[in-house]
């Protein structure tokens, strides 16, 4: 039983790999359905006399796009396109949905999908933690959210090798998707600080208060990686790194755009998989 946690990590890894394979198969099977639904949704936003044409045209467009994810993204684009298309003499009154509601909708849909698809991973990790220790499966860290409100940010617990493994792979941060669903976090935004850091920072950088006006996120510009928690630990010791971090967050708050969000996601994912 000396290296039992090693064994469990190996078994857990194997199981996770198996589930990922299943997941990819699932995505392949579901992709035409998702794409079809998105196109239908887009078509519904068009005036009656245009529906026939774009239904056919967009189905044919998606047909020309290679790859399942590419197809889904293209179909998602049609929904946006349909909202932006103005037909004939139609009025300029835009019926666009307020950006705040859009973001929340993306958060809810995204986190629900993620949690469903990652359920196997969650179960495997929870089982490994349970079987190797008496430690709780989830632990909550207090963080400061929108408007200075405190909330519990969830993480996987575990001790010893399991803990190290989860931290090294950032898998311990997966439960934060539940925080996104609960509305404590959004997908992209400055990382939430601990109450101590939140109190300390305005003393060295008064503009920092700005940050509380925004909901913290799962991924932020200043870190572009789910590994931020280690960085927060590191930067508390050095003022300069901290200042740079804060400047970047403030930049994000001012320059926030879909393009910037997309860049952050790409960079974060890249960093998560290929550590520099």
């Amino acid at each position: 039983m000396i290296h039992s946690s090693d064994m469990w990590v190996t078994i857990g890894g194997g199981l996770a790999a198996f589930f990922y394979k299943l997941l990819i198969e699932e995505l392949k099977a579901w992709s035409p359905w998702i794409t079809g639904r998105l196109i239908k949704r887009a078509i519904r936003r068009l005036p009656d006399d245009q529906r026939q044409r774009f239904h056919e045209e967009w189905n044919s467009h998606v047909n020309e796009v290679p790859g399942q994810i590419g197809k889904i993204l293209t179909a998602l684009g049609f929904v946006l396109a349909a909202g932006r298309m103005k037909f004939g003499a139609s009025i300029d009154a835009t019926d666009t949905i307020p950006i705040g509601i859009m973001r929340r909708a993306v958060d809810v849909v995204g986190s629900v999908l993620f949690l469903i698809f990652q359920l196997p991973t969650f179960l495997v990790i929870a089982a490994v933690i349970r079987l190797t220790s008496k430690a709780p499966v989830f632990v909550g860290d207090t963080r400061v959210g929108l408007g200075g409100r405190k909330f519990k940010m969830w993480k996987f617990g575990g001790i010893g090798r399991v803990r190290t493994f989860l931290e090294r792979t950032s898998l311990d941060l997966l439960p934060q998707f539940a925080n996104v669903l609960l509305g404590d976090l959004t997908f992209i935004g400055p990382r939430p600080f601990t109450p101590e850091l939140d109190e300390f920072v305005p003393k060295i950088m008064p503009q920092w208060i700005e940050r509380r006006r925004m909901k913290p996120g799962l991924m932020g510009l200043s870190d572009s990686g789910l590994t931020i928690d280690f960085e927060v630990r590191r930067i508390t010791t050095g003022g300069d790194v901290l200042k740079e971090h804060l400047t970047r967050d403030l930049y994000y708050i001012k320059q926030r755009s879909l393009r910037l969000d997309a860049l952050i996601v790409l960079h974060s994912v890249k960093r998560l998989f290929f550590r520099e």
């Binding site: 189905n59 293209t74 684009g77 396109a81 037909f87």
Partner: protein, 101 residues
Amino acid sequence: MAAKEPRLTAPTLKVLGALMSPIQASGAEIGRTTNIPSGTLYPILLRLEDAGWVESEWETADPTELERPRRRLYRITGVGAKKTTAAIREIALPIKELAWQ
């Protein structure tokens, strides 16, 4: 339809540029050559069509024979080609002047 002049944004010029060669292209093809995502592409195509710069039609082949849905093919019109050339010249001119200074 009211031929309102379309605003010549960078993506709009890219779309026009892609259509300047005398071939027809589907939305997917234009998207590929210009690297413009579908969400931006179709509003542009529609605006250009409304203004009469671009026209579109279904491909003539039978979809049951092709075993795929029909594609809608876009082509630049005479007016569109003239306006695009003029617009490009207008943009290129100040750049050339700058180069000589």
